[in-house]
Amino acid sequence: MATTDLTAVLDRDEDGALPVGLTLLSGAIAAAVLSPLVWVAANALEADGAVSLITAPTTVEVFINSGLLVAGVTLGSLVLGVPTAYLTVRTDLPFKRGFSVLLAMPLVIPSYIGAFAFVSAFGPRGTLQGLLEPVGIETLPSIYGLSGTVLVLTLYTYPYVFLTTRAALKSMDTTLVDAARTLGHGRREAFRKVTVPQIRPAVAAGALLVALYALSDFGTPSIMRYNVFTSVIYSVYGDILGGGRDLAAVLSLQLVVVTSIILAIESRVRGSGVTAESPNTRTTPLRLGRWRWVAVAACLAVVVAALAVPLAVLTSWLAGAGQPTTGQLGFELSYVTNSVGVAAAAALVSALAALPLAYFAARHDSRLASLFERASYVGYAVPGVVMGLALVYFGATYGGDLYRNGLILLPLLVFAYVVRFLPQAVGSSRTSVEQVSGRLPEAARTLGRSPIGAFRDVTLPLVAPGVAAGAALVFLTTMKELPATLMLRPAGFSTLVTRVWTAYESGYVGQAALPAFVLLFVSALSMLLILRMEGYDVE
């Protein structure tokens, strides 16, 4: 009892009003996060002949290309992700636990490194062709273009669908399927009528992540020489004070609009899935029979293509470094310290910005609080290329000498990271604030603490681990970020990521080997952290 009394009062402050300081602070953070987007929109609308740019042949081609890429990658991810999830949860697939881990692992490989490796292995004058030349095969089907880009992006994004589908299948009450079967439905019919509606929201959520990734990814289409929004924006941004500026702004705005459309479609498709409170999953797994080994072979093929190929390629680069074709290792410690430096700065700023937003949203059930929190999520949907572009514009227009001598670039770069990855910190901070009962700071108040004292002595120590986990995630994600880093780094400032990129552009792949391995390691760490935070279960 008393819960009714309590819920009536829980979400309100002493007098039901919102605290002024916290409201202003959260509002300021939300406004800062939204500012690059506003900047891009304003520029695009001001662009000379915006309408003619939108209907120009290049723009239309880029639009169609991006659409095809997103559709292809999303479809491909569903085709790979859903069956593999079903196989590892509901069947007697051999080595289920091993596959549960291995099939999620491609997320660890940043897609630009995957693309780089695929081009190096299967491209013209690549490893495969070198091996096949003695046999007389002189040309391979081109890896460049739409099909190659779809293939590579699918291999590195399907795990989003795989993971969300698995989670839904595991949390689904299997007695529902049993019930359907006792009501005279066959296994296939039960799957269609019971399982599919139950897992559809999760599959849609995974597909959303894939679609957003495919749309915003810059590295892969660039390496695979396929013209989409991101690669075209990047290629014209160098000329930002000239004619490229308008095109870049218009394309950026279009990209943001397409992103919003994808978000809208997803919320339509998702519907309302219901998860059982304590799922009963005691049903017997589907027996695959003689199809078992076919299933194993299929899963293995995915794992080999996505994991073994890039690992083998990277290893061969490392081994071959020093030879004329691969170039020198050319590794400097400053790449690591630069990467770690900006990532640490981004993590720290994100944690500091996330805490007020998360606290405000978790403790005050007001529209304003949830509006501010949502605003912080917008950055997630803004592609890095757009963010980089907006801030380069901003720096060039208002930075003056600070921009010309490059002093403003590092702060802008950190700001770009924070805007893009703040949701990671807000999410886990909010969860940890929600887990601290509102009674605890109240107890501290009745024991003589001021509101600030209660926050410092009780709330802060309890939410610190959650905030730190969020910051760690921002740190690791920042280490891998490519487009904004390329666009905003000051001259002579190299990080692990920019080293990989320079090696790709110059063709000296040996120089990419070490930074790429370090990035894989960082990526693996961030993946472990995410899975741990979400309680991934390989059983």
Partner: protein, 388 residues
Amino acid sequence: MSSELRAPARDDRDGAERGKPDDADGEPVLELDGVTKRYGDATVIDDLSLSVREGELLTLLGPSGCGKTTTLRLIAGLERPSGGEIRLNGRPVSGSAFEPPEVRDVGVVFQEFALFPHLTARENIAFGLDDMDEAARTDRVDDLLELVGLVDHGEKQPGELSGGQQQRVALARSLAPEPHLLLLDEPFSNLDVDLRVEMREEVRSILQEAGVTAVSVTHDQEEAMSISDRIAVMYEGQLEQVDTPEGVFQQPRSRFVASFLGHASFLSGRVEGDVVETGVGDIPTTSINGLAPEYDGTDIDVMVRPDDVVARRPAPDELANGEVIHRRYLGPTVLYRVRLDSGDVVGCMHNHAEEVPLDEPVSVSLDADHDLAWFPRGSQGRPRRADD
């Protein structure tokens, strides 16, 4: 920390004091004066006035959503009232002025205990003692651990303690700064049923030893009656009655109070001279509490508890006046529901050995050794007596 402070509040059960708690002996530690709390359009507490004397334990009792927890939060300063005034030791703390909770000198034991999970039991208890020097603080924590019987558990984290131990730490923590007033919000509701009864006794004796004035909140009438000096029954944001446990149980001021505190049946009757005619026979008006002469010739309802009436097989020369329609076996006792020939249905509690068969005519008679409460027919409350 002495027990002399406790006022002998239980002694005046039959005197004229009842119903007039405000001027009883003992200084009022807490006064609520016309306190109102609204959330938007919803009025949660409506014009509530109440005072709590030095050293007593007063319980706010009422069903879910009656506003009792909100009242507690208003007293603690965790909410601000929409109207009225709250005074602690005569000093206004809400209303004309507002004192935040940290300066009110009011301790709170929260429903879910609200122990700080990152601190040990000792650190939790010491939390409100940061103005003491190290040695004094250690001594004080030692004293409190001893008071609540947890000397060996000081270094444990809250998660390592059982429910009863957590509650004792919460109690010790709130008593540590020697508050003028202690508030307990549903203090036993998070405990297992077995532990609940045991902890009630224990908490009461700890409070007595600490000599602290306390206000507790519960929806459990048994708990309220067993620990309180006085009970304030709340319903829909208003105070229904403030009285000793015996007073609210035997002489409820309203039908709500009558049925909320245990099983209550009503015998419809008519006042005729010096008797009230009912379905179980005539009851002398002298056995009806405070029945004024002006009610002669009117219809009233006389309240009976299950232990006030007995149903028997009629003796050979006796006429039956009712029929058993339901029987609930409760172990030591049996609760019968009897439909009287007059149409009233009354509950009777019997020893489990006294069997009365179902669906047989019985003779029901009154067997009460105290005055019975009554309500005018069609009214929810009782008329105020001249001495109120």
